[in-house]
């Protein structure tokens, strides 16, 4: 029992640290990704503009659409 508890404690600490380390690595990767995508998109300005335009839209509309999608999702999915 005592030994099991200390094992469980170790797993708890190891696990929690690993989750944080891993997701922090992912966080760094996301920053790297954003910079990489940004730098890549610089030279292809024309295309980027179009893309951005398409992606951006009116943010109000976009949020409305996402909200609607979330509601649809909520109705339909686990």
């Amino acid at each position: 029992m005592q030994q099991q508890l200390s094992e469980a404690l170790t797993i708890m600490l190891t696990g929690m640290i690993t989750v944080f380390v891993f997701l922090t690595l992912l966080l760094l990767a996301m920053h790297g990704l954003r910079r990489f995508v940004g730098s890549e998109e610089q030279p292809t300005a024309a295309r980027t503009t179009t893309t951005k335009h398409r992606d951006a839209g009116h943010s109000g509309q976009r949020i409305a659409a996402i909200t609607a999608a979330v509601h649809a999702y909520r109705r339909e999915h686990e």
Binding site: A8, M12, T14, G15, L27, H31, D55, A56
Partner: protein, 376 residues
């Protein structure tokens, strides 16, 4: 006359045991929760129905030759069904809000403390006479705190198949109870001013970033947590199909027909594990209790982490969004939105809570991988 006797012997009236009758009642209760209370009906309806079928004496649904037996062997023993569900969920997930505010990943991490604390709690419960959870059992139970059905089923099928039924039922039930479990904890740990904080509008995310993100997640996972790659890999495949923009027909099928077919079968197979000998035990009570604990701790640690981040950050952060880190997509995010609106009726937190919400899915898949590596 002989024939009549044969027929009578073949009725269930003589063969019924109390345990089977009780399990049918459990199945009927799940159907009631699914249909009348709308508790995760997509899963709990087939689970409840499967529980009824599995407990019919003399019908042999769960014996070799029975349809539930085949479904279980093909889909759960192999781990294929939860992985396909996860692929479909990946194809339904928009990582945009997370990419717009990457720091919310840490909220998804913090909420996993619900899992690991519960693991410890499950072992501590062994002090109570009648409980004897192994580390495997404790890990499978703890994953309920991940608030993610397919992850819980996948891990339980690998670590503790005997508890699979109870764990799946607890996981889906508490996911449905998120609007009841979470708000008091959220209110307890935050002031009204904190809950009223408005956050800045999220930036737009480009297509390339969305395409590269699942690949980055997969890459880090395969490097550091190979045991998490089945779950994370299938999730990322689904998400990549969604975002790539070149395989829309595959993405649509993964999000609709395929996930629907697998959901029916998965539910029936989980229900088939709800036998009296495995479910009507003290352990099930322990699992239900620990599950509630896991959700509560996960919610609390998410909120506390968000409060910490709010202190350290220059941009305003509403600590409520930490509660969404337990996943339970998108229920937890909606709860955040609702509690936020109570404090400030112009405070729409939904999109800000979607970031920690999807981070919580990744977080619990990662936690499952860690548990597989440590005790698998």
């Amino acid at each position: 006359m002989d024939r009549l006797l044969t027929l009578w012997d073949s009725t269930a009236l003589s063969a019924f045991t109390w345990g089977q009758a009780a399990m049918m009642f459990v199945g009927a209760l799940l159907l009631y929760l699914a249909i009348s209370r709308k508790f995760e009906p997509l899963l709990l309806l087939p689970i409840g129905f499967g529980a009824i079928l599995a407990n019919i004496p003399l019908a042999g649904f769960t014996e070799p030759g029975g349809i539930l037996y085949y479904i279980y062997v093909v889909g759960i023993d192999t781990g294929v069904f939860p992985l396909l569900i996860f692929m479909g969920v990946g194809a339904m997930t928009d990582f945009g809000p997370l990419l717009a505010n990457p720091r919310t990943l840490l909220l998804g991490a913090a909420a996993q403390f619900g899992i690991f604390a519960t693991l410890f709690g499950a072992i501590a419960l062994n002090a109570v006479p009648g409980f004897d959870f192994s580390l495997q059992d404790a890990s499978a139970i703890a994953i309920i705190g991940g608030a993610d059905g397919p992850t819980a089923i996948f891990l339980a099928s690998k670590l503790s198949p005997d508890l699979l039924g109870a764990i799946a039922v607890a996981a889906y039930s508490y996911m449905a109870l998120v609007p009841i479990i979470q708000p008091p904890i959220m209110r307890l740990l935050t002031t009204k001013e904190e809950r009223a904080v408005k956050m800045e509008q999220l930036r737009q995310i480009g297509r390339r970033e969305k395409i590269l993100f699942p690949l980055a997640v997969l890459f880090l996972t395969l490097l550091f947590l190979p045991t998490a790659t089945p779950l994370v890999g299938m999730f990322c495949l689904g998400n990549l199909m969604r975002e790539a923009g070149v395989v829309e027909r595959l993405s649509k099928t993964a999000q609709n027909e395929l996930i629907n077919i697998v959901t029916i079968f998965l539910g029936l197979a989980v229900g088939s594990k709800l036998s009296a000998s495995e479910f009507l035990t003290l352990e099930t009570l322990g699992i239900l209790g620990l599950g509630a604990v896991a959700f509560s701790i996960g919610t609390a640690s998410g909120v506390l982490m968000a409060k910490l981040m709010a202190k350290l950050s220059t941009a305003p952060i509403n600590p409520l969004i930490g509660a969404a880190g337990v996943s339970a997509v998108p229920m937890a995010a909606r709860v955040v939105n609702k509690v936020g609106l109570e404090a400030n009726q112009n405070n729409f937190l939904l999109m800000h809570a979607m970031g920690p919400n999807v981070a919580g899915v990744l977080g619990s898949a990662v936690a499952a991988g860690i548990l597989l590596a440590l005790v698998g």
